[in-house]
Symmetry: D3
Subunit: 285 residues, 6 copies
């Protein structure tokens, strides 16, 4: 697996990125007839959590199968500003072709892992698991959910096929929360828990009564979430969702809910600041 | 064209997004045996610039070829919080399948267009064109560069195949700036201007002497940029790049440079806040 | 959805089947210069459960977008020998192109649905759910698991991504059953139950103690399964698996296990006997 | 070629199978954090004819490019119950990922080759060639026709592009058998023989008169087939088809027809019983 | 079928051509913000045989699903200089996008059909069939072989999968011509004739003795070919190949060989001269 | 890059060619059960400019990853009749599979490079650059434009996305030449020159006045072109186009235009005469 994708899927994805950037090749490099071996150094210009190194490496390998990649960091390592995340040696045209594509991936994945790390650190020891959502960048879900894991977060559903989550629209269409839970139990897979989203304590009571296994408390006040926790039957998990900010996280953790899901982990990411510095390859003869 | 992509490329992209989200179908909807026609309303929860409506519409059409999409807004319209961006009517399972995919696209594209609009408004009338970069989300370049255009910004190169831009690494590899420009002129297409990136007034002088058509002033102080503008030969364009923030933009505009490029337009986007509200279809019998 | 596949995935699959059968076109039809409109009649030559009609219909529509398909049967209907499963009218070359591909699909899916129906009927009322396995024909999993549902069976995991099932190899690699369950709980999704496969009452006891949510009784005697049922804690599900034949099914149902999984449902299917009779189109002018 | 498929086509097919089984990876293996090298042993639990070993091997190589595959059997070898068909050593996660996919392929192909072998042995020495049909599993035609060859059978047409076979529908559309043969001669390729399907001795006479090169005797009694054989002109081949069972085969062989085609070879296959036993890798340090 | 390709294969091919020509859209049209409906007229500037009209039409339909195509010519019609091959009405941006792609196809296919027509006319009535070879433009084989048929020529093998043709390299590898023919008979399909290439009368004698069904006379003098014709057994076909020019064709026809194959039909084509004239749409309001 | 294509794009293209030629494998080779290692020699039967060697080599490597390719010629070398362009050693079935595909590519690319070389030699020293057009064989544009470069020619636009070229249809749609140039300047990329096609000296004057950077003189007489050259403002480039033949080239060069574009370079190519001779591998044990 390459950052949560199968090797074949990642390669197809990466070739697509090359096509996106250079459908007719790199015109500048070709016009200048650049040649020769060089070394690239990924310079960290911002403290970050390393994430996406195998993906970036693979991008360079596709551009130049002979390139050499070395790094003293592993996925999930905290890396301070001024460090070199990795070195890559190879033919200059390949380095220039892969540079932007690799950086775009790396900056985004490090950005997600770093933000997730900050949030999970903030609630460390509380038992609260910080989860992502389906609000991922179109086409990057597997990579982004991987970055959340690297940052210490937990993945919620990978998608609509990956578990049952009953929301207000479902309940409205079925007629009642309890009937929705009943159908989900009868037709859903034997291996799944049934999650229900509720937005009031009244609905929460209904969900408990209907036998939901996981209950998502949507946009509830801390006070109401506290009440829900206290009324929680054994074996049921509670998830806080909606309007959750970094600031609110410790307070939510203190309430005793089990999971919190935050769309911002993936939909509003600040890219980490990393640059690629090219220099003479010290090992070239 | 669908938001800058060919209809066929967009459809392939969108089917991929469905596969990403629901490789085995929507388990909740299927387990609950949901049926019937409903109406979805895209509610704007944050002032924004409309962008991506044709893409979102197409996502719904792929999920339900019979669905109906209506909107009183066009691409580029400023839309106030509380407005309905668009309505979509169709079969409930299709609406639920398309909902998240459409929202993820719409929120991102509106986010880019809105940020670009804010920046271009800030320098309105100055003649400065606000450009994007190649720092786009992997796989979304055509859509994101389209959103920049919708927001009033200009596209810089679409990618490495799309024009010649000589940077420090190229110059180092070729040996000198003037030789690099000479090669680009000899081998590049007859229809292109040659752009050179410089980071000092000394290099700027070299670029002018070498006959560069466009000169990118990288991470220069306002003072130095001012000097460059004053020394600019007729017919040459100047581009400010690196370390450009929204705050600095008016000052840069005042200097008289022609173009400014900002990676943040596409790599650190805040998604616009839009939700899809489902309700009974008022036209259903 | 077309028989459990997205419309786009089914179309790609079907075009592949045409390429498999006719990479250079239908040489006989072309050499004979056949033309004209005809009607095809799917004749049932063996009692069966209808399954795959939307897939067969779509195959004809791809071959001739103007073709007309009519059927008085729905998926899951029991159809007696001698009945006409469906009619299709269209251009003769298209009918001849689609004929074999449609029949190959239809015969297989009807075969699976019919066998599943026989088995589920045999345990009707007992509460035992008859499940499929991952022993499906390569490339046809979604279609075959759909046919199992149409026949009244239940789907077990769609694949390795679809739930956690701990087998002997996993336990051997981890070191102990209880540690394996512990890890699965810590790292698996919040919405899932953890299933463990055991092959003795001793292992069964361990699985119960470790807190498994579902326990697969692999190749156990009826006697041992009976003991397991009697020792089952509340909320735990038991699944019989391995060496389950149609004959043994009623006995297993009587024991009180919740699920039984049978590879034979999909890996050793007898195709239903259906033929396509072509005749003059009664509606052609 | 990998079991009748080009290496590239087989790889695409196999990656598809991985996607079918594990679109989000192997959740169990990942949750349990399994690691380490192991050895898998393909245990034969049923006498069979080996078929599909290169395909199974390739599946493992795609999952783990470093895996080692060894087997003392070749395609077509008869293997007795209790033997080890092959060994594969590699990383445990890769073995678990490839296991089911490889087994599903292997069991099906061995099943087809074994059945074909039984049938061809039954008519050994008679000169009768046992042929397959186009009644193959959708998507697996090249593999299944390969298995028929491995089992000692002959391939009939690969598909509609692969030779001219005139059936009743064609004759009805053209107007007469002799006109159909005439057109096929005039427009078919110079390298082909023309086959005609007949269902009575009367039609047989027409086919002979029209100059058919191969004549398919469809659903004829042994008596009628005997008459046809006796009336066969030099250079013409006869093919028995329809309603041919294993039991009838020796009698048909005795009649002196040249070819017999049986759909059951591929459409109603019993999978061979093979399991993969994982064990400590004896060569691991 | 669209000019010998399945509709789906042609569409994929055509979308590829658009990507080849316009990966980022049509920059000129977009920069000029062109809009409005126009009519295009395919003007014939050189006598030609019409071929490829359905392909050209489909290219326009993909660019603009609402476009209208009309033509009074059919595939194979001789069209004089100055005639309008077809009209197409649609949105200007779509017409400009499709123009070059459609012309490139049309000019090539008309060129092949026209050259084939000239050659077949030159031997009309002689019974000699003019065949193509596998020397087709990479990627265009189905289209080019279709154009040969439209021009009145016959297709030889579509490719390596389409019949058995034994050449000198095969014979060298097998050991002898007769053994090669023997193996081809034993293992080749029942529906095929076996063709052997010979380059001397001695080899010709061997091929006849070995029972070849078709014999290719490679680069033989007219005199030797005449001898071969006189020595031809009943039922055998002779094919002249190698060094066949338009000038030599009538002489070869006079010899009495059955087939002649010419690589030049497809590998050295002169494009027909056709232009697309755009004009105001007379039907636009 | 493989002859102007990315390695991944070339591989996909080449696998397609194998599928085109051998969807069911090479029937002759398989029926004859050919085996063993041989050497192929590409014999030049016509003076030519070498082009496409990396493409031909890759085709063989895909057919047999163990094959060995050697050549003493590089792309662009002039090679005399009778020379061996390259040797390839490998398994016989792979050589036979790759032979035709490699030759079809090689003959076409050598043909284009050779014709381009002849034309560029004819105007050597004149400063005139010989350019290709978009009149390339559908699907082969990148390869053909590469062959033009190898032959010493220059590439004009790669396609519609690659620069702005304003033609009569655009001008008609916009209303005036000057407005079209104005729009192109306002909305086109900063790095591009704007080209305008004119067909009279009057239009030429307009184009100059409008500030066009490059002006295409379409189908103009030598006399008018001479006048245009004399009236050319500094910094503007002139391109001769339409009706340019090899014979006219020196006269055009003498006029002093900068560029000439010729569709014949790619749309009416005579394939170079190259054959592949197979022989015993001298290095085989």
């Amino acid at each position: 697996m390459v950052c949560g994708m199968s090797p074949e899927a990642f390669d197809r994805f990466a070739w697509n990125l090359f096509r996106e950037d250079a459908p007719y090749g790199d015109r500048t490099t070709e016009a200048l007839e650049l040649r020769g071996r060089m070394r690239g150094r990924f310079l960290v210009k911002d403290d970050l959590v390393a994430c996406g190194l195998p993906a970036a490496r693979r991008v360079f390998e596709l551009a130049d199968p002979e390139c050499l990649w070395t790094s003293r960091f592993s996925e999930g390592d905290a890396v301070k500003e001024g460090n070199t995340l990795a070195f890559v040696r190879g033919e200059l045209p390949a380095l220039l072709l892969a540079e932007r594509t690799a950086l775009n991936l790396l900056q985004r994945l490090c950005g997600i892992a770093s933000m997730t790390r900050r949030l999970t650190e903030a609630v460390r020891g509380s038992g609260l698991r910080v989860c992502d959502t389906r609000k991922t960048t179109p086409g990057l879900r597997l990579l982004e959910k991987y970055a959340v894991r690297v940052g210490g977060g937990a993945n919620h559903r990978m998608g609509l096929s990956d578990g049952i989550l009953i929301k207000d629209n479902h309940i409205a269409a079925v007629g009642s929360l309890s009937e929705a839970v009943r159908r989900a139990r009868a037709r859903g897979g034997a291996l799944w828990r049934v999650e229900v989203e509720v937005s009031s304590l009244e609905e929460y009571g209904e969900a408990v009564a209907a036998g939901a296994d996981v209950i998502m408390l949507d946009n509830m006040s801390d006070e109401d979430m506290g009440r829900a926790v206290r009324a929680k039957p054994a074996g049921v998990l509670l998830e806080a969702s909606g309007g959750v900010t970094a600031e609110r996280l410790p307070a939510i953790a203190a309430l005793g809910v089990d999971l919190v899901s935050m769309g911002a982990l993936t939909h509003s990411v600040k890219a980490s600041d990393i640059s690629l510095e090219l220099e003479a390859d010290p090992d070239a003869a």
